[in-house]
């Protein structure tokens, strides 16, 4: 019998070209990165079971479910509001996060789960010019007073649905954002983001993998 290898593959494996691109030589205006092999589960409360879902989430993740347009940071996962009565449970380290089976058990009868670990692709953008580059991509107002750390939005980029949230500022005190894009759109959106960042100088990190 032949050997069957099941190597995972990022949808960005061709698109991500690590290194410095675009204008300038000093501090890059924009930093871009992508982490593959994440864990992502869409949690949708059953009808009338929001309170039970909140209780189960608190027990499982150690945090309240996220308020509208917010993220909630738990011990092992980030919960991202994604619509009325639903959120995304995201972890970049699937091995230290609750497994899908553990989640099925915790939310049994109270929520429907949809595994989106392969359905979405994580892209991070930060840097002193990140907001300028993002202004070309999103109609969101990213001003501190409107979209502070912890803010989340279900929005669209280039007519494509995206879950978008603001993470803690980077080491240089510049804003940092994460977005989950549909896997099939990842390649095209990555190129769009790079193109939009070139004039500020962009540093692209090598593809990271979840652990």
């Amino acid at each position: 019998m032949p050997d069957f290898l099941w190597n995972s593959q990022s949808p960005l494996e061709k698109a991500v070209i690590a290194g410095r691109h675009g204008a300038g030589k000093g501090t890059p205006g924009v930093s871009l990165s992508h982490v593959g092999d994440i864990a992502l589960v869409q949690v949708m409360a059953r009808r009338g079971r929001n309170a039970d879902v909140a209780k189960a989430a608190k027990k499982l993740f150690g945090t309240e479910t996220p308020a509208m347009l917010k993220v909630a940071n738990g011990k092992s996962a980030t919960l991202i509001w994604s619509g009325p009565d639903q959120f995304l449970a995201f972890s970049q380290q699937p091995r230290s996060a609750p497994s899908l089976e553990q989640m099925e058990e915790a939310f049994a009868g109270t929520a429907s789960l949809s595994n989106q670990s392969d359905g979405r692709c994580l892209i991070r953008i930060s840097g002193p010019s990140a907001n300028d580059a993002l202004a070309k991509l999103t109609s969101l107002d990213l001003h501190d007073s409107v979209f502070p750390v912890g803010a989340a939005a279900t929005t669209s980029i280039d007519h494509t649905a995206v879950n978008f949230w603001r993470e803690a500022d980077d080491a240089g005190a510049n804003p940092a954002y994460a977005m989950l894009v549909f896997t099939s759109f990842a390649d095209t959106l990555w190129h769009l983001i790079v193109d939009s960042s070139l004039e500020y100088g962009v540093e692209v990190a090598a593809i990271g993998a979840g652990h």
Binding site: Q86, S112, R120, S184
Partner: protein
Amino acid sequence: MEGSTRTVAGQSHRLGSGGQIDRNAPLNFTFDGKTMTGFAGDTLASALVANGVRLVGRSFKYHRPRGILTAGPEEPNALVELRTGARREANTRATTAELYDGLVAQSQNRWPSLRNDLMSVNSLFSPIFVAGFYYKTFMWPAKFWEALYEPAIRRAAGLGKTAGIADPDHYDKAWAHCDVLVVGGGATGLAAALAAGRAGARVIICDDDSRLGGRLLSDGGEIDGIDALDWLQGAIAELSSLPNVRIMTRTAVFGVYDGGDFGVLERVNDHLPQPPEHQVRQRLWRISAKRSIVGAGAIERPIVFPGNDRPAVMMASAVRTYVNRFAALPGKRIALFVNNDDGWSTVDAIRRAGAEVAAVIDPRGKAAVGDYSGVRVVQGVVSDVGGGVDGVSSVTVNGAGGIQKIEADCLAMSGGWNPNLALSCFHRGKPAWRDDIAAFVPANAPTGMTMAGAANGDLSLGACLRTGHAAGAMAAAEAGAKGKAGNAAKASDEAFAIKPLWHVQVKGKAFVDFQHDVTASDVQLAQREGFESVEHLKRYTTLGMATDQGKTSNVTGLAIMADAVGRSIADTGTTVYRPPYAPVAIGALAGHNRDENFHATRLTPSHHWAAERGAVFVDTGLWKRAQWFPLPGETDWLQSVTREVLAVRNGVGFCDVSTLGKVDVRGADAGTFLDRVYINAFASLAVGKARYGLMLREDGIVMDDGTTSRLAEDHYLMTTTTAKAGPVMQHLEFCRQVLWPELDVQLSSATDQWAQFSIAGPRTRDLLQALVDPSEDMSNEGFPFMGVRTVKLRGGMDARLFRISFSGEMAFEIAVPARYGGAMARNLMIAGEPFGVTPYGTEALGVMRIEKGHVAGPELNGTTTAGDLGLGKMASKKKDFIGRVLSQREALTAPDRQVVVGIRPLDKARRLRSGAHIIPKGGIPGPETDQGYVTSVCFSPTQNQWLGLGLVSHGAERHGEIVKAHDPLRNETYDVELCSPVFYDPEGVRQRA
């Protein structure tokens, strides 16, 4: 700065001192091939003025020689082709084009040269080129229009020529947000931005010019006791120091839309020969503002008199701009023709520059307030202008003392000021007339917009600063800013007295719209011919329809119409104002979305694998799908596709079908939900089984089809067609959220989560047995047709396996998480290698579904019912579902409906064409005999001929009938047989094997 006419070397009309140009930064440029020199800070227009150039273009209709009329974006005459090659830009206003070293500009609309233009012969025939000329002359015979008249007119008309090749530059689009948007960076806008910015509001201030200042740059004055230009520097410094204020120069606000959204164009790099690497030429902004203040100033209007279009007849405000800002003298002996006090201020500018004021001609006959001793004042009007193509030599004045001729080389005119109120009218606001300034002023601006300063009819500098400050403070407070706006800057309120004068009524060609060559007599003729409404006037004479959109002509034109009709100007009214206020390049509207970035693309999980194998891709919606996989030596797509079909029919093949929409439907009421969405039953579907489903729109027409599987009691997986995945998801969400919120149903798209492949052909089971764990029972009993379950694969992987067939062969679909899509394709090749496994594309998929008579997009085309598709029996009679009631409408159940039928040419060598119409044998093609059409065709390798599906009236009852296929596009008519749509394995034995 007591100026001097001492000229700069080579620049015959450049002042030796003064102005806001950098004499240490000379810039070379060419105009019509002649090399000249200007300075940094110049516009192309000011550099031409400094070089003594008067003639810059030819008019649109009569090819009359024209010069520079204004110094701003309202310029109707001085349009040039800027740059060369692919960057050549037609109809660029010399007054807004910033000079750069190496700039190349060409005049337009002349042949063979600007000085000797043969088409100026049109001017001799001008009595026939009157209003409505084209309408009147080229009416008959009608059939001549397309072949003869239009091409000839198009050759003669038009101004500049486009480059004709792709624009090499990049454009993009961006969003910005603020509390207060300030439109215009003159005194009013600066005062508004300072007030709002100090109060703490987020402010964006935009100005079309390369620098802030507006008329302050041209007219100077005194603000808060200091020179206006010094005050300006302070204001800019303060605004720049405020982190909540963003200054955008070279930026035009061209439209206001719903909810406080503004259309804005930033000319990021138009002032350079070409954009620096990685930068765009222009950027289209959508600015979302809670409040807006429009301090867009006013536009000085010409007076209509014979000769008013001669080169070197210029707006008085433009003369001041060229002299004060650019240190360029439009003339050395300048006459003034004004009807208002503001025009008189030009006297000072001319004198300080060391030039001579030939006379001030004012129908009011008296000097404005101020010291005008020594100025020759003539009470009267200008009735003619002498000179040639190179400008003015004299001015003829009809005055109290009779007719006199005054020598001058330039005539500066001012008929008053029109507030720049377009933005206030873009939501159908109608302006109001104010007699004291003889102009329209804004009356009902869009919600959240405040008009201020000259744009609101407050023409004095003091009033601009006061109203701008007040508007800024109020807007900031309304937007929630809590800080203090500070004090308004102060300046004097200079008098503005005016006596309206629109038209000097003497014989001779007197221009209203310079760019479209509309004269006062054209307006009067339009009135005599019954085109009295301003909207008719505009369309009949083309007044205001040129690239300048009548910025200098509209109000004057309707004033002349009002006079002709005997109505007041207020009663005559204005035409409807529509965006864009300023020209917007199509490239800017497209932004990044051109060429390969025209739209987003979606890639399947096996895309890169397919690309490595040399697949040819096809766009299906946003997706790139492998269309076929050519092998070395294959030269024709049909050769590759036929090989792929035969490989599947005789062995085994696989195809990436991840593009089909997949929707997880969960919850206690998932079955009930699907029963209402589909025409057939799903609540009764057993766990571990799949079923073909058909859904209708509310109107009874088929919406989509697909296979839906029950994975658990409360979990279904629906599949949709590739094309309808998005619309179906929207439809389901609408049903869930709006129609039946009481149901416990949760939906999520799983399309991108799974890499799914169809494996088909008689050797499918052999291939799968090599791939799945030996513990899995793959027998016909262990995995029956329409069965679904999760199986273990060798190498440690779980997969969902569905026994469904689209090709008519023994087939499965296998799904793994998308990250393993590439691995799955490679493993299918390994597992199937002994059986000659062949990857196939969408073409082979299409061939096999047509051979099998399965309907797809061409049949589910938004006009067909379930019955039309031969699927009427699927509709449950035991339940209600979306579309049930309306599907029973008389029209949708009529016996003569066009239904799906197979079609096969009698001549087996004949290629059947999609779109061909079906007519009865012996019928003459036409609407009366038309019975339907061919929807899908393929070359069938198993039947060894072209065949297809069609929608034909009474089709189901006519199998075996010979009819004609008529293809008017290819002018073909041939015999075809109507038959069963199932050409291949009609008993369905193979897929159940």
